[in-house]
């Protein structure tokens, strides 16, 4: 479908090319958009795409039909997702046998297949388009606006929705300083975790002595439970490139790098394709759009080290060394990659830039709170009804995200906490759910914005176990360079391990707090400094739960093995004998068809009986 590609010598040629592309798009009567984001692809959406292709080839209909693979829509819970144009009819949980029906009814017949629509469980109302679904209604999409609309492997698709117009505007109508001023006016803060004002960083790098200068896109999204940046790189790679090219022009850099996490092969593939296409059209490389400005981008895949999300560690990795951070008093904007001025921003930050240039800093600053502008993408996961990727204006309350967009807690259980900020963040309890999402508000609560992971936890979650999980993660990922982090995390983990095994001692909480203070004050990089946040925030809001573990040797959420008992509910037990046969230590006795019993003296609390019982007659007490 690509039209003869040519090198675009100036903005006028680009607009002419765009007009041709749009005319071609307009002539297509029907478009089938199949989501191939990781969630949908894992549920077989690539096969759905093939089936649509076959259906179109076989039908012989006398209309032009385009099937395209698109990036993540965000509603991963309901994947695979297929959207049909015209009408933007939104089908969810589509399976292979559904393809023929969708093709016959909707694509050719223009009728809606009701059973594949999203139905609101509360009202029973069916939603035909995305806008009718509550999950999308409270969202405001800037970064994710084109996700799910365009084929990420087609630069023509990106151009058709106005892509690279911000670049053309920046190169022809704006001076570098003007661009920085616009970003400053927008109040754009780094989306990778720190929240540092992007314009200030750009200006420092622009003014720094040394050449060449580098710009880097940090796509080493390492927080567990977070996949915002991946969806942008996979679903709309050109928006990241466009942001980087504009930034490079503003800063005065000719070489860029995108550092992508090793676990994201599809993101690497899509970025590579995008870079190739941008070069071919002359949007990357020498003399971009005839402006005299030259810039190119290389992709590097990470090696699988969480610490490389830290800017100085990432730069060490780009230099072909082990990814160990260094002290921050030497600023990377002056001495970064190869000791030269370097500006690093994360994927989402770069992807916001084209919209800011196009629509102006004032527009962007009109969204959000006083000190946190624009929108933020979160990956809303955990024990929540609607798992997925959401983009919301800053200042929205956590409650609206969890309840309105997320649909509340799964299985009708009670909400316990929401964890934000990844391993460096903290757990926020129910009483603070009305807090507004904002860099500073979340920090006040002992958590942080982080890169945008948002994990909902229900009443069955043990907060001590959660803290232990994050510390275990950080202990494995600590690079080992500085002693406080290497030894401090291990000590904290040792204490938490004791507590969750029923060996907690009086004074453990004080010890944890002392270690936390030490790490905060002395660790070399942010990974170490913030590593105690999961512990401190859970102690702050769930102290009683810690104390029950330590003093009463009891895990109220019944998660920590050994700190609760298994019992058989005599009324529910049918005496089938399955638990008895499966018990590895023969702790269960009972006659056939009679209620069984567990001998607590013998039971090792392995939980096998609970898993095997077909009648849910095993209770945790």
């Amino acid at each position: 479908m690509t039209i003869a590609v040519k090198h675009l010598a100036d903005p006028r040629e680009m607009e002419a090319y765009r007009a041709v592309v749009k005319a071609r798009r307009g002539a297509v009567a029907h478009t089938v958009r199949v989501c191939i984001g990781t969630g949908c692809a894992a549920k077989g959406s690539r096969r759905l795409f093939e089936l649509f292709q076959e259906a179109a080839a076989e039908s012989g209909a006398d209309v032009e039909i385009t099937n395209k693979c698109v990036g993540c829509h965000g509603f991963c819970e309901r994947g695979p997702i297929v959207v049909i144009e015209p009408g933007d009819i939104f089908y969810q949980r589509v399976e292979e046998p559904d393809v023929a029906e969708i093709f016959r009814e909707t694509v050719l017949g223009g009728r809606v297949v009701e059973r594949l629509l999203y139905t609101d469980s509360a009202t029973g109302a069916a939603a035909t388009t995305e806008e009718d679904i509550p999950f999308y209604q409270a969202q405001q999409r800037i970064v994710l606006a084109a996700n799910g609309l365009i084929d990420p492997r087609s630069i023509d698709d990106y151009l058709a929705i106005g892509g690279y117009s911000a670049l053309s505007k920046a190169l022809t109508a704006m001076q570098p300083e003007q661009i920085i001023a616009e970003v400053e006016k927008a109040g754009l803060r780094g989306r990778g975790g720190g929240g540092f004002p992007a314009a200030r960083k750009w200006r420092s790098c622009r003014q720094a002595h040394g050449s060449p200068k580098y710009v880097i896109c940090n796509g080493d999204e390492g927080d567990p439970g977070a996949f915002m940046d991946r969806s942008v790189m996979e679903g709309n790679p050109h928006s990241v490139l466009e942001g980087m090219i504009i930034g490079a022009y503003a800063i005065g850099s000719n070489q860029g790098y995108i550092y992508v996490r090793n676990e994201y092969p599809l993101a690497v593939e899509h970025l590579k394709v995008a870079i190739g296409q941008a070069r071919e059209l002359g949007l990357l490389g020498e003399n971009i759009l005839g402006s005299g400005f030259s810039f190119d981008i290389k992709i590097t895949r990470g090696g699988g080290a969480f610490v490389c999300g830290e800017s100085t560690a990432l730069m060490a990795s780009l230099e072909g060394r082990a990814g160990e951070p260094r002290a921050k008093y030497v600023h990377t904007v002056e001495h970064g990659l190869n000791d030269l001025p370097t500006n690093l921003n994360n994927v989402e930050t770069w992807a916001n830039v084209p919209a800011i240039v196009n629509r102006g800093g004032d527009w962007f600053a009109g969204i959000g709170t006083e000190k946190s502008k624009g929108t933020k993408v979160f990956s809303l996961v955990g024990n929540v009804v609607n798992t997925g990727l959401v983009e919301v204006p800053m200042g929205i309350t956590l409650r609206r995200i969890v309840e309105e967009i997320g649909g509340g807690v799964q299985g009708g259980k009670a909400f316990k906490a929401v964890q934000t900020g990844g391993p460096s963040g903290g757990c926020i309890p129910a009483e603070h759910l009305d807090t507004r999402v904002d860099f500073d508000e979340l920090t006040h609560l002992g958590s942080m914005m982080g890169s945008g992971g948002m994990i909902v936890m229900d009443e069955n979650t043990c907060m001590v176990n959660v803290a232990k999980y994050f510390l275990g993660f950080l202990k494995d990922e600590s690079c080992g360079k500085c002693t406080p982090c290497r030894e401090g995390i291990a000590q904290m983990l040792y204490i938490l391990d004791r507590i969750t095994h029923g060996d907690g001692e009086n004074g453990d909480l004080d010890r944890l707090e002392v270690l936390a203070g030490l790490l905060d004050g002395t660790a070399l990089c942010a990974l170490g400094k913030t590593s105690a946040n999961p512990v401190l925030s859970t102690i702050r809001y769930f102290r009683r739960e810690y104390e029950e573990h330590i003093r009463e040797k009891r895990c109220p959420a019944k998660v920590c093995k050994g700190l609760f008992l298994y019992e058989i509910d005599a009324e529910a037990c049918k005496g089938c004998g399955i638990c008895k046969r499966n018990c590895p230590v023969s702790a269960i006795s009972g006659e056939r068809r009679q209620a069984h019993e567990i001998d607590q003296a013998v039971c090792t609390k392995c939980g096998t009986c609970l898993e095997k019982c077909p009648f849910s007659a095993i209770l945790k007490v």
């Binding site: 990781t38 969630g39 692809a41 894992a42 549920k43 991963c76 819970e77 994947g79 999204e221 390492g222 927080d223 567990p224 439970g225 977070a226 996949f227 991946r230 090793n262 676990e263 994201y264 590097t300 895949r301 990470g302 090696g303 699988g304 080290a305 969480f306 990795s317 780009l318 230099e319 072909g320 060394r321 082990a322 990814g323 190869n338 990956s379 996961v381 955990g382 024990n383 798992t387 997925g388 964890q419 992971g453 994990i455 936890m457 979650t461 959660v466 999980y469 994050f470 993660f473 990922e477 690079c479 939980g607 898993e611």
Partner: protein, 163 residues
């Protein structure tokens, strides 16, 4: 010059001999060989004029590099926060016990290599296990073990690499 040397030389040329591209070069060696064999690392160190210890340091720092051949199948279990909340630790424990294999290691019969990773970003599918590139969603202890017990053993390792 041996084939091995040729392989390394081609990779070095691909990146213009830029030492900054050491990690991508080592990734390419691993993609070709399945792991980082000592001869290739020696050749790479000589060609880039860096000490072999630096390559060893890089290889052991990053979790995606391996210094021993992998098994016929690649099994990845997600240990991210959501998978953890939904029971991945118990699944990992069961796999370790039944197959006597540690995360990062390979079973004695070389049937599969096991890796625990920190989130594959498919949280809607938790807990997730990936076998030879195919995602299995909502696995539990029994279904995971069943999947691994049924892995075919006879096929050659080369054909098992997921595309």
């Amino acid at each position: 010059m041996t084939d091995n040397d040729q392989l390394v030389d081609d990779i070095v040329t691909r990146y213009d001999g830029d030492v900054g591209m050491l990690i991508p070069m080592m990734q390419d060696v691993q993609a070709e060989c399945g792991y980082l064999p000592p001869e290739q690392l020696r050749r790479l160190a000589r060609r880039l004029r860096v000490p072999l210890t630096r390559l060893y340091g890089v290889a052991t720092f990053y979790s995606s590099f391996r210094l021993a051949p992998k098994g016929q199948h690649e099994v990845t279990l997600c240990m991210g926060t959501v998978c953890h909340l939904k029971g991945s630790a118990a699944i990992m424990a069961a796999i370790r016990e039944e197959f006597q294999v540690e995360p990062g290691g390979t079973t004695a019969d070389r049937l599969f290599s096991l890796q625990g990773v920190n989130c594959v970003g498919a949280c809607a599918l938790a807990p997730v296990m990936i076998v030879d590139g195919k995602y299995y969603d909502g696995v539990n202890r029994d279904s995971a073990l069943k999947l691994l017990r049924e892995l075919p053993a006879e096929e050659a390792a080369e054909t098992e690499v997921a595309s």
